[in-house]
């Protein structure tokens, strides 16, 4: 593991300008991913996890104001010149998007779509070398090389997602960002795709950022996990530990949302939280989670808690973790 993180976010804030006024989608996020590491980001709709993805390759809309630093191998993406930015996209970091099943061009063969980034990023590529590369890529994602001649409609959902992964790998990036890569897929196919992604990341010692709404998926496949709520990381640490012994009440709720099968306590007892995730433009005061929190204290609406140490390699943003705050 080198000293410089492959991907590092430093105090990133993203605010969208809307007709209803500014909407702070991300409110100060620090996160780093080193080569060979798989880091998960869990959270629900509106928590800012997809906005974070958009900052890494500067894919945010013009209505967004981004501050802080987004570093890819130490280089700040936000201040990069346009030409360098184009080279970094796909070459240094690439994204497998949510709902990627519809991002393939329906009237182009798979091979043609795979070749495009290769030629764009490698000036020395020849027709032959590109074709070889396409074959290798398809085999790496577990597809027969003859699928290069197929059109997207001839492939199943899982196969299309494999093509999307092959596309993301086309220029051998060092950082792979996967935004809900398995959401629209079947259970068994989800497991196949996750196994494939983690395998590729490990084999190539890539830095991988895996975004999901499903904490249980991240808990079993990542090294570290960050849980987001209302634009901030509210808990961070080793994946297994966070999933098994969550410190923050929100993480606890997320981890029990998907029950352990065979656990008598969750039989006929689905567990959830009252209310809904807050709208980023209208956040509750103090700890934004307090209106839904099962263990809220009288101080919670007034204290805006930052991440506090919560055990080895772990942090959590909750007054219950910080013993110095009066609990009455």
């Amino acid at each position: 593991m080198s000293d410089v993180a492959a991907l590092e976010l430093r105090d990133v804030h993203v605010t969208y300008r809307t007709r209803e006024g500014p909407v702070p989608a991300v409110r100060g996020v620090d996160l780093s991913v080193f080569a060979g590491e798989v880091v998960g980001v869990a959270g629900e709709s509106g928590c800012g996890k997809s906005t974070i993805v958009s900052t890494i390759l500067r894919l945010f809309p013009a209505s967004a104001t981004v501050t802080g630093e987004v570093l890819l191998g130490g280089e700040n993406v936000l201040t990069m010149r346009w030409g360098r930015m184009r080279a970094v996209r796909w070459g240094v970091a690439s994204v497998v998007f949510q709902g990627a099943l519809h991002s393939l061009n329906p009237i182009q063969r798979i091979g043609t779509q795979l070749v495009e980034p290769i030629f764009l990023h490698d000036k020395l590529a020849t027709d032959n070398s590109a074709a070889t590369k396409v074959r290798t890529l398809l085999e790496q994602v577990g597809l027969p090389a003859r699928h290069a001649d197929a059109y997207p409609h001839q492939l199943s959902g899982g196969q299309k997602q494999r093509v999307m992964i092959a596309l993301a790998l086309a220029c051998d990036p060092q950082v792979l960002i996967c935004d809900e890569p398995t959401t629209a897929l079947d259970v068994m196919v989800q497991a196949q795709i996750l196994e494939l992604l983690i395998g590729i990341a490990r084999e190539r010692s890539m830095a991988m950022l895996l975004i999901s709404h499903d904490l249980s998926v991240l808990g079993t496949s990542c090294d570290r996990v960050a849980v987001m709520y209302a634009g901030r990381i509210i808990e961070h640490g080793p994946a297994r530990a966070i999933f098994d012994w969550p410190e923050h009440p929100y993480t606890r709720a997320l981890s029990s949302a998907f029950p352990t099968i065979g656990d008598a306590a969750s039989r006929y007892a689905p567990s959830g939280l009252p209310g809904d995730p807050p709208f980023p433009g209208d956040l509750p005061s103090g700890c934004p989670f307090h209106p839904r929190c099962p263990s809220a204290l009288p101080v919670c609406p007034t204290v805006d808690v930052k991440l506090l140490p919560a055990g080895p390699g772990r942090t959590a943003a909750c007054v219950l973790v910080d013993q110095s705050v009066p609990t009455r």
Partner: protein, 340 residues
């Protein structure tokens, strides 16, 4: 909690019975006929919550649609309270007041230009039921939208995902149905909201004695609310039993594989099946699962001396009633498979 499990049981009085149901779809341009359902038996008791699980293409949605009268069987029949389903316009309309559907994506199932009141009132209006506003108020509060009046004039975009799903459920409840068929009722909702909607379904069963058929790929959901679990593969039921029986002691290799890929199941090594559900126009011979079956591939079937059966001998179709059953040559015949 066991007394709750006893609320519904097939023995008491089946509300819905499905008898040897076959539903086919004509293939396109020379493609063979697809047998989406290839002989399915099912009985759902009053007040029972039954989960239908399986991968896409297994026929679970086709079965739910057939139960709603949206698909006409090629053979076999669906019975509601002992009466075969009529497929005439009037018969279906009367039937659908009593058996309602709740779909996966609440945003897609609500008209964005209709207010909450209009959305819930549409059913009672179609069925010319008396006291429309009273029904809307009651349905919304049963679905946990309280106070209902405050939501009457809201539009779907002003609601959160969980509230939208509650409005969709209220739309079904407004007709006083006896059965609700829910297709993936929580899969498009946020994790923290999911539990509340599942709790609502359990509560509706208690308060209104509703019978629920839930189509899902989510075994955790089944563990949370279902009394009984029916696992489907390629148009057939492959395992059927109480949720405890099927999930704590799965018999069919397919059920075992499905269970092993649930992320929480860390103690078991996950059995990731290769490939996807085959095309139901080209159903494999013998046991239809054998080309993907881990027990067949590992030689377990060979060792048990039944590999030939797996390849070429058609399995008997599981009946609608009787304990824990699995359609697999490895599982001893009879209604009580030997636990391993």
């Amino acid at each position: 909690m066991s007394e709750r499990a006893a609320v519904g049981s097939v023995a008491s009085e089946p509300v819905i019975e499905v008898d040897d149901l076959v539903v086919t779809f004509r293939g396109r341009r020379g493609g063979g006929t697809a047998r989406a359902l290839d002989g399915v038996n099912l009985a759902v008791g009053r007040g029972e919550i039954v989960a239908l699980v399986g991968e896409s293409g297994c026929g679970k949605t086709t079965l739910a649609r057939s139960i709603l009268g949206l698909e006409r069987p090629a053979s076999g029949e669906v019975r509601f309270q002992g009466e075969p389903l009529g497929y005439g316009g009037r018969a279906l309309k009367a039937y659908r007041r009593r058996v309602q559907l709740v779909l996966q994506d609440p945003t897609g199932s609500l008209n964005p230009r209709q207010t909450v009141y209009e959305a819930v009132a549409e059913g009672p209006r179609v069925h010319r039921m008396a006291d429309e506003s009273g029904r809307v108020v009651q349905a919304l509060s049963q679905a946990g939208i309280r106070p209902p009046e405050r939501f009457f004039l809201r539009y779907p975009h002003e609601l959160s995902g969980g509230q939208r799903q509650r409005v969709v459920i209220a739309g079904a409840l407004a007709l006083n149905p006896e059965v609700i068929v829910a297709d993936e009722p929580v899969s498009s909702l946020d994790a923290s909201v999911r539990g509340e909607i599942l709790a609502l379904l359990l509560q509706l069963r208690e308060e209104l004695e509703l019978t629920l058929l839930v189509v899902t790929h989510d075994l955790g959901l089944a563990w949370n609310i279902a009394d009984r679990l029916v696992v489907m593969y390629l148009g057939r039921v492959v395992e059927d039993g109480t949720t405890e029986q099927v999930l704590n002691n799965p018999q069919h290799p397919y059920t075992k594989a499905l269970l092993s890929v649930v992320p929480e199941m860390e103690q078991v090594e996950s059995i990731v099946l290769t490939g996807e559900t085959p095309d139901c126009a080209r159903i494999p011979t013998g046991c239809r699962f054998h080309p993907r079956c881990p027990a067949y591939a590992s030689g377990e079937a060979e060792a048990a001396g039944i590999a030939d059966d797996c390849r070429s001998r058609e399995l008997p179709i599981l009946g609608a009633t009787g304990g824990h059953r699995a359609a697999c040559w490895l599982v001893p015949a009879g209604d009580a498979p030997i636990p391993r």
